[in-house]
Subunit: 234 residues, 2 copies
DNA sequence: CCAAAAGTGTTGCTCGTACACCCATGA
DNA sequence: TCATGGGTGTACGAGCAACACTTTTGG
């Protein structure tokens, strides 16, 4: 590191959140509608500047998560996605934003009321469509977030992070199908997942969804990596 | 994003470089010895603060690369590794550093003289050893860089980025063996790599290394992903 | 009984590993 | 000629796609 501290330019550091969830049969992302310029009224990722010089980046991400979406940080996967710092990305001043990626189970009442600000859930296909306008460079960030999520399902057990605490094999398979936009053979999927030691723990319970044979219920296990990996067809 | 611009804390944004290369039979990382406090005299990653408010992060990384190591940015893989921003990571003031990862072919004269500052090449095993002191949180960054490199060899063609423009199959295999710290079957490796379309382009030339049958020379191809992937034994 | 969903068995293929074997060179 | 490294052939097994088949429920 060079240390010409007297020439250090003024840069504002922000933290943004790409919170993905599977809702209503689609991969959706949590967005807020901006109340002030620039990009007033436009969709944007929830986020904000560091609260103080002493605030850790991860802590800032967790704080923004609760503040803006009403979600708790416990039992929710949160990882750094990347840092975006093009000089002209914010017209007001130089802003470098560290973006975090979160996977959330489907929410009963998606932060409609309460202390959360106006958080909206929108399908990523719709948000990434060229007709949808998104503030700053957030469309690119969302695109990166979705690609990261798709890739993570291949070699980690994070697909289960989209499921409630207890879920069926079909619930998990539908996460994969929706995130990847493909269809998977239920029988091979079942065999494959049960073959990964530590991915799922059977609760012993069974649940009947509408019609047909009741499905076994599972909880998330300790495994974090998926071995062998679950590759999508490309 | 919230927009309480008047409360934005002062944060310095730096760019650090984790330049990895395979040299002398070991995975090595480029470091500099700090000339001023804090951590004076200690080993650190090359890097520095943004040159101006208008400088792009990627551009700053490329600039630091040439300034501190004498390496050109063309024909060298450079990607963002991650951002490190613990509040106490720099005792002087709050610094958030965006770290970039670079893969370099073995260098004939490793920036010994010329316009480059005092850049040193050290084996990562030695640097990561608990007896070696490294400035700031750079040991953690180096550890992340090495893990990322190991993982990237599995599913991308970036192993060839450690090789000179023309190289033999054995050169490439040794990159894998050294980076992963394993030994690979030369015959199966050969078949596997030649089976990936677009990874290597044979030049038609052959070269004789000391003794034995001469090896075919290859150049890097257009492929970036390795399919099927080359998984290490874990 | 029938439809529908859950789960098991089986087959054929792709790919990886292990290793026998041949090829081309320097000493 | 032998040692050394480059490269091909082949056999066995793991893992996966495709799909026939059985199990268990609601109507």
């Amino acid at each position: 590191m060079t240390d010409d501290a007297w020439t250090i330019p003024e840069v504002a550091v922000a933290v943004d959140l790409a919170v993905l969830t599977v809702h209503d049969g689609a991969l959706q992302i949590m967005l807020v509608r901006r109340g002030i310029p620039p990009f007033e009224g436009m969709l944007a990722l929830p986020g904000g500047f560091l609260a103080s010089t002493a605030e850790d980046l991860d802590a800032a991400a967790a704080r923004e998560l609760t503040e803006e979406t009403g979600l708790g940080t416990e039992d929710l996967h949160l990882e750094q996605l990347g840092t975006y710092g093009a000089p002209d990305r914010d017209p007001r001043r130089r802003v470098v934003t560290v973006c975090y990626l979160a996977f959330s189970p489907d929410l009963p009442t998606p932060t409609a009321g309460g202390d959360a600000r106006e958080a909206i859930l929108l399908p990523v296909d719709e948000v990434l469509d060229h007709r949808t306008a998104v503030a700053f460079d957030h469309k690119k960030i969302i695109s990166d977030a979705v690609e990261r999520a798709r890739s993570k399902l291949e070699y980690t057990t994070l697909g289960a992070a989209f499921c409630p605490p207890e879920f069926t094999m079909t619930d998990l398979r539908q996460v994969y199908e929706i995130v990847w936009g493909t269809s998977l053979d239920p029988r091979n999927f079942h065999r494959k997942i049960t073959g990964v030691t530590g991915f799922l723990v059977p609760t012993g319970e069974r649940v009947s969804r509408q019609v047909g044979r009741p499905a076994a219920l599972y909880r998330r296990g300790d495994a974090t990596v998926l071995h062998p990996a679950m590759l999508r067809n490309r």
